[in-house]
Symmetry: C2
Subunit: 193 residues, 2 copies
């Protein structure tokens, strides 16, 4: 094969990976249990090609999760975190919730497939930003200090995940959940008299 | 076969089911990903026998979950729910958390396998009791009423599940989590000024 031929093959492979990741992101975002065959079909690539790039469902879900988390991380980095920590938390929660709504099913698929260590890694960027804000709220005396920061971060994550599940069950609407997530987290963090 | 022979066979089958359920409850409580083969081995029954009673992992996890939920429901029914709804909530949360700690991994295994409808059914008994208490707290003016009861119940469940995950990760100890679950839920439910 010529050098050009090798380069063309590599470009093809990269394009196929992108097609598979795009299709997988879209399908996983609505159905966390979608099969690899359905993803291959939607991407317009053969099963052999898909398995060539992603030897297992777990490998594909991991790649999709990492890509979703990267774009999520970029979106969250634009949130204004200055000023009163409670207002900043409200803004960060709203942005996080919008992204959770959009990619919630990917997170559910990831939960089924990724190891706790992988889950920790994909949450690391957003978690660091949230951590810094909770810490600032504690330092400024508006968030309670009688609980470990790690617990408060776990609570925020639990409320967001619980909100996804509640919307999925039809217990609350996605729009109402924006306010409910904010009010619940702020109440859990507030200094008590 | 004689009538006695049939009766003996039935008794054998019942005993095997109990042996499998006991082994599965014990093993799933420490490792939600334990295999059917390991469960059969621990129960001292053959794989064919196990598959005869439980045609799939999901069927076994469902049976174990239903049994755990039944005994959990019985344990929770002994909790004193009279008096100040906040104190009653603290007692109910502590009992629920002790049971979550003990059977948390079974719940995680159930999460992976059961459908949302099955999960709803297995949580129904404990959920009804919690629902009645939250409602009483709202009626008596000590729990906030600017959130749907269903959201408050979802939050309580999310905090309990989040606590299991936090203990599993080593973020907090199981003993500390008792207080943290209580304080977080009571803060989330409290009427704000």
């Amino acid at each position: 094969m010529t050098t050009d031929g090798v380069a063309a093959k590599r470009a093809d492979a990269r394009r196929n990976v992108e097609l598979v990741l795009d299709a997988a992101t879209t399908l996983l975002a609505t159905d966390p249990r979608v099969s690899l065959n359905e993803i291959a079909k939607a991407a317009g690539v053969g099963r052999v090609t898909l398995y060539g790039h992603f030897p297992s469902r777990a490998a594909l879900v991991e790649a999709v999760s990492l890509r979703v988390i990267t774009s999520t991380d970029q979106a969250l980095s634009t949130v204004d975190l200055a000023g009163d920590p409670r207002d900043a938390m409200a803004r960060l929660l709203e942005a996080t919730w919008q992204l959770t709504r959009r990619f919630g099913a990917v997170v559910i698929a990831a939960d089924d497939v990724l190891t706790p260590e992988q889950m920790r890694r994909v949450h690391e960027g957003p978690a660091r930003r949230m951590h810094a804000l909770v810490q600032r709220g504690r330092d400024e005396g508006v968030f309670r200090r009688d609980m470990p920061v790690r617990w408060q971060l776990a609570t925020i994550q639990a409320v967001l995940h619980g909100a996804s599940a509640a919307v999925h069950r039809g217990d609350v609407t996605a729009v109402d959940a924006t306010r409910l997530v904010r009010d619940t987290v702020l109440a859990a963090l507030a200094v008590t008299s």
